[in-house]
Amino acid sequence: MSLDLMKVNKSFGKTHAVADFTVNLPKGQVLGLLGRNGAGKTTTIKMILGLLIPDAGEILWEGAPLDREKISIGYLPEERGLYQKSKVSDQLRYFAELEGMDRQSANQAIDYWLEKLQIPEHKDKKASDLSKGNQQKIQLIATLIHDPELLILDEPFSGLDPVNANMLASIIEEQVKMKKTVILSSHRMEQIETFCEKVCLMKDGKTVIQGNLSEIKQNYGYRNLTLHNDGEVENKLQEWNMVFEKKLNEVRLKVRDESEAFELFSRLHSDRVPIRYFKMLEPTLNEIFLEKVK
């Protein structure tokens, strides 16, 4: 019961947009597709949607080649757009009907979602009369209205103000709780880090890192160790020729693992350097990203 991409490849002319992309996403899990602009995220998504046909490789849903007719997908494209001259309710009903909903349930779903996103007053307005943020909400409704099994959100947070971004985050969370299979693509790590169990970091079409987010962080190879700095710590570190980063009244350095940290503590302790406090954190996704895709 999962979405599988196996050694998927796609080239446009001489650019190898996606190379040997392989991922296994069990049903009900969230995959974060990360990478800079042009890394191949949207191309991968378009192949899952069947809009592009891979040059090689397979895309499977529950073990069989993914068939768009059989699985309901909610797709929020990176480039946003609506029928500018049509009424909001008309086009939402149209999108719902194209997903096989009947008129009545479409109308109910429209009312439900407009209410939920706090924009019921825009139901009979033309899309062109709405602000950009509200148009994005309408698009989100278009993505979710038919209660899809597989949700693909391409850069969902771009262009949203903090309030709307929070609202979107809570809706995504809700969808995750409803055991929807979700693919999120972004170049802003911190926004999607909270949702994703699995991440896949892409660079120039290639997969740089892939796997369970907590495992990646655990095994990434270093921890960020932060110590209070009253001058003595700094001096000692300099004396021992260690690389560190000096913050306002803290120093930050990278250690391989806990044992290296404890070793450092005991050296400081034996040199009678007091340790007022310390913290040791896994690298953030952002750090991993920046290091990996540079």
């Binding site: 378009k46 949607l49 069947g50 809009l51 592009l52 768009r68 997908i73 797709y75 494209p77 990176e78 480039e79 946003r80 757009g81 609506l82 029928y83 500018q84 001259k85 049509s86 008309d90 086009q91 149209y94 999108f95 009907e97 194209l98 997903e99 096989g100 698009q139 278009a142």
Partner: protein, 406 residues
């Protein structure tokens, strides 16, 4: 099929409820009624307002003005006294009288001078001169005591009888109207398709649509929806004509366009069927090309230059169609009627002119259908790839590449 119906319904509603559709239809409707209303009003006013022309006759030959007036439709003749020439000349100059006819003897033969200000009345002078001639001849016969039989045989004229084998002059008006409408509809509704596709693309709503439906289905449904809109508009135009006819504003015998009469007797069911057939086929052919072009551009602003080749084709068809008004059997017209891009207009005008035989109709329809299949595949491929292709200006090379790719 359900999806097709949903797309068709959505675009039809969008089309029929759009401001552009409502306004243009209202304008056409009012314009047609106004046109017939005005021409009816002008006709009525004309009949009560005959040109008045004065006659000053200084000869012996007698002209019976009263009996002449009975035969004149647009002119009222008035007799004036012999010494009033100067006064009437001034009246003509001032516009109080529309004309003055002076009948004077020149070497014993009556001669006629017609004086008018700007535009001559074409009816009066020939009628008066004929009456004058008859009266003069009768007088001469009587004076010279010529035998009436001799006189009759002397007077008999050589007769000219027209025998037209194929008279294109009476189909001229109707072909003109239909060729023009065909051209107008194809270009107007074709452009509507291109704009709709390009707008869908440039507004990026296409990104939502393409995962939901096969692009080719969208293309067909949109073409069908706009065709329906076109037919609704044609029906409204026809309704305006019928209303004008019902009120009595439309005199079918006097219908004309730019002076060439429209003979509605040429409007047989066969011709109407041919119009619909060729219009639908021609529309589909051009609609697909327009859809392909619309799918190639990323912004609606780029549409103008990209659709130029199509406009060239349809303009070519229009001008060859116009050529066939005057001469439906020239080589250019005959050859063009077999070229699918031209045949909707050209072959149709040849049919109305009575030049196209059954074989020609069958062959051109077959050619049209075959090219429709071909264009359908080509345009379909360009469309499917074009809608996902964003970039700068479209090059012809890109188009070929898209058509080749599967």
């Amino acid at each position: 099929m359900k999806k097709f119906a949903a797309i068709y319904k959505f675009h039809l509603k969008e089309n029929l409820t759009s401001k552009a559709f409502k306004i243009s239809t209202a304008i056409i409707f009012v314009a047609i009624l106004a046109f017939f209303g005005y021409s009816n009003w002008a006709n009525q006013n004309d009949s009560g307002n005959k040109d008045s022309i004065a006659i000053i006759n200084t000869t012996e030959s007698n002209v019976n003005i009263q009996s002449l007036n009975k035969g004149l439709e647009e002119t009222k003749l008035e007799s004036a006294k012999k010494n009033e020439e100067k006064k009437f000349r001034e009246k003509v100059e001032n516009g109080n009288v529309d004309g003055l006819i002076l009948v004077r003897a020149q070497k014993g033969v009556p001669a006629l001078t017609y004086i008018y200000k700007n535009f001559p009345n074409n009816e009066a002078a020939p009628v008066v001169s004929q009456a004058l001639q008859q009266s003069y001849i009768a007088d001469t016969i009587a004076q010279n005591k010529i035998d009436s039989k001799t006189a009759a045989s002397l007077l008999s004229t050589v007769q000219v009888k027209d025998e037209v084998l194929k008279d294109t002059s009476n189909t001229f008006g109707i072909v003109y109207v239909f060729v023009f409408f065909m051209y107008l509809f194809i270009i107007a509704f074709g452009q509507m398709i291109a704009t709709a596709v390009a707008a869908e693309k440039s507004s990026r709503v296409m990104e939502i649509m393409i995962p939901k439906v096969k692009p080719i289905l969208m293309m067909y449904a949109k073409i069908a929806a706009i065709l329906t809109g076109a037919i609704v508009q044609i029906a409204i135009i026809a309704a305006a004509g019928l209303i004008a006819y019902a009120i009595g504003w439309l005199d079918t015998n006097e219908l004309s366009i730019f002076g060439s009469g429209i003979d509605l007797s040429n409007l047989t069911p066969g011709v109407i069927a041919a119009f619909i057939t060729y219009f639908v086929l021609g529309y589909l052919l051009y609609a697909m090309m327009y859809a392909a072009v619309g799918s190639m551009v990323s912004r609606t602003e780029d549409l103008g230059s990209s659709q130029f080749p199509i406009i060239m084709l349809i303009m070519g068809a229009f001008f060859i169609g116009m050529r066939s008004l005057f001469d439906p059997s020239t080589t250019l017209v005959v050859v063009s009627s077999y070229i699918p891009f031209f045949s909707p207009i050209v072959t149709f005008s040849r049919i109305v002119a009575g030049e196209a035989g059954t074989l020609e109709i069958v062959i051109t329809i077959a050619i049209l259908l075959i090219s429709l299949l071909f264009i359908n595949r080509l345009a379909g491929r360009i469309y499917v790839h074009g809608v996902m292709h964003y970039g700068g200006k479209v090059k012809f090379r890109d188009m070929i590449q898209l058509a080749k790719s599967k």
